[in-house]
Symmetry: C2
Subunit: 646 residues, 2 copies
């Protein structure tokens, strides 16, 4: 799977005669589609029109983007044409490029391309200094650069044709070069996948690329290699598509809840409430490690604060990269570099380990710790779940949801769990289990439909490049109702699945994540809702089912999980226990300290109401839509055990 794979420009393109066109007044620029806040036309508004942009042929417009691929064609040199001075009212980059290319390149190295006079001034024709005389040198041999540029607004790229009399191809051709171009939309002269192209008349900005150090210069970089280059990752076609789909799912989420009368409540990230108790949490301090840990300055300095475990984790990552590079056999240089890197990392890990064994620890002076001067009086950590907080708003405002980051410090390398994940949490007053199961299912189906309706081009790309059945999978969700079975029925169904030994279960066993996935992937081949769990399997706040309300053996709780093919469990919900006696009892059974949760118990003491809710792992929904396998590839800046780059 290649993140950057746009095809080259059609090789058969003709070489049109360069005919300098007078720069028009700004008013002539196609105004209808110009972005309000960047004075350029978003490519989506041209390339995703129902007529593929053909209705705009002949329009003059400004576009900006990054070169995805490129090609140069030489053509016969025409007689050098004097450039009319009136068109160059300012020291434009066009002139600079034509006259002082070596100088210009060195300036670009220093200033990154930003030293060009701003575009408005060019357009407004403000002449701060008299235009330099036309260059006396003979013109270089003329050629045409064909650039496919993308601006991130859509999958498609625009074919831009730049005559070498306008800008030197060597600056434009490298993958990743940023250009801001004014030109005229035209039909490409050659047949190809593009129905429309832009004939450049002016290059307003060039942001150059150093091909040797630019990671995206290399084709076919695997996704896990990109994770070490988070800053450039969204410039790849794949990650850009994934992030647009993620964006669409975000807006779908707010739209669904808004349209159904829910209020968005921003629950706290810093909390003193331990909702789950079952996972590791991130604790907070206002003291940095440097100030709090002065025990061994030498070790600290030599290690730069790095732990052996983290280095080992990094070594494992690097080892994976090496394997991948070996497998694809595409880039010999990258492989050598990766091997050296891995060797260094392994050495460092061994050194550190030895050192730590030698120095079991000089004591820290407590006055250096100053924990007592910390910011909050109580122990605080990053929230694992906002559902308990949300309950207090549901028990006042009725129907509420929250959408935000949640945290777990579990030392896992699971591709489905990272330290910081976005969750959608929902709570509804005057509701019971059945209500929220319906709400969860409606929300999921709404989201799938939204993606199909609003991300057609991105989904086509996903189906082509990442996961062929992705569109079918979304459509299949909409074409039939989700399967809804009790926990007991789920157990029965798995017992019948005698063909798979691993999935076979004996009575009384708690279903694992693998069991649930098997239901969705193999048995029902559909999203599956499993409800009425044994009480041991769910948190203390889940409502105990009334006697006789279920046909299951033993005590069950009003809880459910929703499982998707390919992704597994991504949503979990329940009716909350609103009876204080029952709630207190379960807290005692579980050893949940009651003092910390008095505020939560209060909701049952005063004006209690039946209420229910659920939590959705938003990142897993993005996985479902895109068919990717690792959440780190669908989160802009993923944080996982041993990794918090940027």
């Amino acid at each position: 799977m290649a993140p950057d794979e746009a095809a080259l420009a059609p090789a058969t393109a003709q070489t049109p005669t360069p005919t300098p066109t007078p720069v028009p007044a700004p008013a002539a620029i196609h105004a209808a589609a110009t972005s309000k806040y960047s004075n350029r036309v978003l490519l989506r508004t041209v390339l995703e029109r129902s007529d593929d942009g053909l209705g705009l042929v002949g329009e003059r417009l400004v576009v900006g983007g990054w070169v995805k691929s490129s090609k140069e064609e030489t053509k016969e040199a025409p007689a050098p044409a004097a450039v009319p001075a009136a068109e160059h009212k300012d020291v434009s980059c066009v002139e600079l490029l034509q006259t002082r290319i070596p100088l210009f390149r060195s300036i670009m190295k220093v200033f990154g391309g930003g030293s060009h006079p701003i575009r408005r001034r060019i357009e407004a024709g403000v002449a701060k200094s008299p235009p330099p005389s036309p260059p006396p040198q003979p013109s270089p041999p003329l050629s045409l650069a064909f650039l496919q540029i993308s601006d991130g607004s859509c999958v498609a790229s625009l074919l831009v044709e730049v005559d070498s009399s306008i800008a030197p191809p060597s600056l434009l051709l490298p993958t990743g070069t940023c250009v801001l171009v004014e030109g005229i939309l035209k039909r490409p002269e050659a047949q190809g996948k593009h129905t429309i192209g832009l004939k450049a008349e002016k290059i307003i900005h060039i942001g150059t690329v150093d091909q040797d150090s630019y990671i995206l210069s290399k084709k076919r970089l695997p996704l896990d290699g990109l994770r070490n280059n988070l800053q450039f990752r969204p410039r790849t076609t794949t990650v850009a598509s994934v992030m647009r789909i993620r964006n669409a799912l975000t807006f779908a989420t707010h739209t669904f809840f808004h349209d159904n009368g829910f209020l968005d409540v921003q629950v706290p990230i810093i909390t003193s409430t331990d909702a789950e108790g079952s996972c590791q949490k991130f604790h907070l301090t206002v003291l940095s490690r440097k100030t709090s840990l002065k025990r061994d300055q030498t070790v600290m300095k030599e290690n730069a604060g790095v732990s052996v475990e983290a280095i080992k984790a990094a070594a494992r990552e690097k080892s994976k990269l090496v394997e991948e590079l070996k497998r694809t056999d595409s880039n010999r240089e990258a492989l050598v570099a990766a091997l050296q890197d891995l060797k260094k990392t392994d050495e460092l890990a061994s050194q550190l380990e030895a050192k730590e064994k030698l120095k079991p620890g000089a004591p820290v002076k407590a006055e250096e710790m100053k924990f007592f001067e910390d910011f909050f009086p109580n122990e605080t950590y990053l929230t694992v779940s906002g559902r308990l907080h949300l309950e207090s708003y549901a028990c006042a405002l009725g129907q509420v949801y929250s959408f935000g980051p949640r945290f777990r410090a579990d030392r896992t390398e699971s591709p489905k769990l990272v330290a910081e994940m976005w969750m959608v949490e929902v709570e509804i007053a005057f509701s019971e289990l059945e209500d929220v199961m319906k709400c969860a299912d409606d929300f999921f189906k709404f989201s799938c439909k939204w993606i199909l309706d609003n991300c057609a081009e991105d989904m086509k790309f996903v189906a082509k490049r990442i996961d062929k059945p992705s569109i079918d999978r979304l459509q299949s969700v909409l074409s039939k109702p989700s399967v809804k079975i009790t926990y007991k029925e789920a157990v029965e169904a798995l017992k019948k699945a005698t063909d798979n030994k691993e999935m076979k279960i004996e009575g009384g066993v708690v279903l694992t994540a693998e069991h649930l996935s098997y239901l969705a992937d193999e048995i029902y081949k559909s999203p599956v809702i499993v409800y009425n769990y044994p009480k041991e399997a769910k948190p203390f706040y889940v409502r105990l089912n009334d006697d006789g309300e279920t046909v299951d053996d033993g005590e069950t709780v009003a809880a459910f999980d929703m499982v998707l093919p390919k992704v597994g469990k991504f949503l979990t919900g329940s009716q909350s226990e609103e009876r204080i006696g029952s709630l207190s009892k379960r807290m005692k059974e579980r050893g949940v300290p009651q003092e910390q949760l008095e505020w939560y118990l209060d909701l049952r003491r005063q004006g209690a109401v039946k209420h229910s809710g659920f939590s959705v792992s938003f990142d897993m929904m993005v996985l479902f839509a895109t068919g990717l396998a690792d959440v780190r590839d669908v989160i802009p800046f993923p944080r996982s055990f041993g990794n918090a780059n940027c």
Copy 2:
């Protein structure tokens, strides 16, 4: 200002004859407005109709909510009517209440009102046990309870009339009681502020209140008192209105950026990038204080982990409450309780201080610290700003925004700054300062218009109860363009303001937050944008203006702030420095360590583009709309120095 001030039911209400109506099949319940996920009608859909709900008179519906105020009226006792057994197919709460009130109350204490059979079973007529015989006791004297109930979906409350033959008034009348009621909509018989009321036919659920311990039983609780009862706060009319306005602003934010072609990018909360350097940050560890700090178990235990400073802060808070209670003179008991509380807190602070002085600290064993086994290899903290991360997405996808929590560990008691605040951050590629100033202004105006268009009733309430000019303030924003002046012009304007000595400034002085507020509040009486700041006043990543581009003396940067009347500075933006030479130089000048920001510098090395953005303090926008003075009153669970309750 009273958060709970709904008036009592009209005192002149007539006493209609109780006519038991047969319970209809569920299908007869007004389906059009029923919430999809809670089987009741949201009050907003009745009370905010253009006909004030009159078109629904005669409709049968189920509503649920909490009693805001109530009143009981006795009426002449009619001959006891035998209750037809057919209407009580289950052991309904109606019967329980009529026959076993003392028993029922004790059950309610234990189970918090949740032990009633569920509504669906009542409606479906499922008879699990034979109905008990009608009670032999004589009926109590008949009366009518008038309840004003609110369900949080709108400001208005619905007047519900409950005959004592249906449920005992003593259970229903206390403020805060939760009820789920089925009844018929009717015109109230007396003239009053309500145009429509509900005649109850069945009480499906009662969640009782213990008046002695329920904080909202007391009228006129000030907002700062409510901050100690975050779990109940949204049940007050004021906080509910504020949270609905906050919700509307949230959706307006997503709508504005979606409609203008921006992509929502979720930037990381955990970060190793220090964007500002100017403020205190929260650092992360996976070790709790208990495991990392074993130095003095006795002190820990006795103090319960509480710091002297935090206790002192709590004492200051409590002292404020005492003053407020003294001033309003409304609740003698609360004042006495608050005084005792304050005394205890002061004593504890003194004891702790003495103890800490006595014990300068026994050493901690370093092996107990285990910092080297922490989760991330590098120092990580909670993000202060997501703008740098957002830049990398703008330099790939074009127009992006992020909406999420940001953190500062500044030890301040400013009403405008808490530890966890929500920010809207925006970044646009191919844009300059002027573009983002326009975008920021458009976004702000769009939000103001959205509130006026979508929160009319809440804004009426705000204008009546919190801040009279609030609606005018929003309208005034829309009626004229925002003032846009350079920093130099701002200084000149302030120099001319000779009538105010505090605001008078001498040349060369950096403008303070107070100066900026003075511009908006006193000089221009309008939102003001101040741009082209002296470079010393802004962070390292702000773009140095090109020579000759500004008319100001000295070196200026392409940065701006936006200031609002009453609220002050709430938005800050800039064109980012895209020239690597210039950026490196400024980092060196500022002493910003470059190693940590190599990824950020990369964006200038490879395909650089001019780009600009801004950050909005979302909580301050809620302050502007509501006229409140303290952000802690507009954030669901505020976290400030010394406070992280719940």
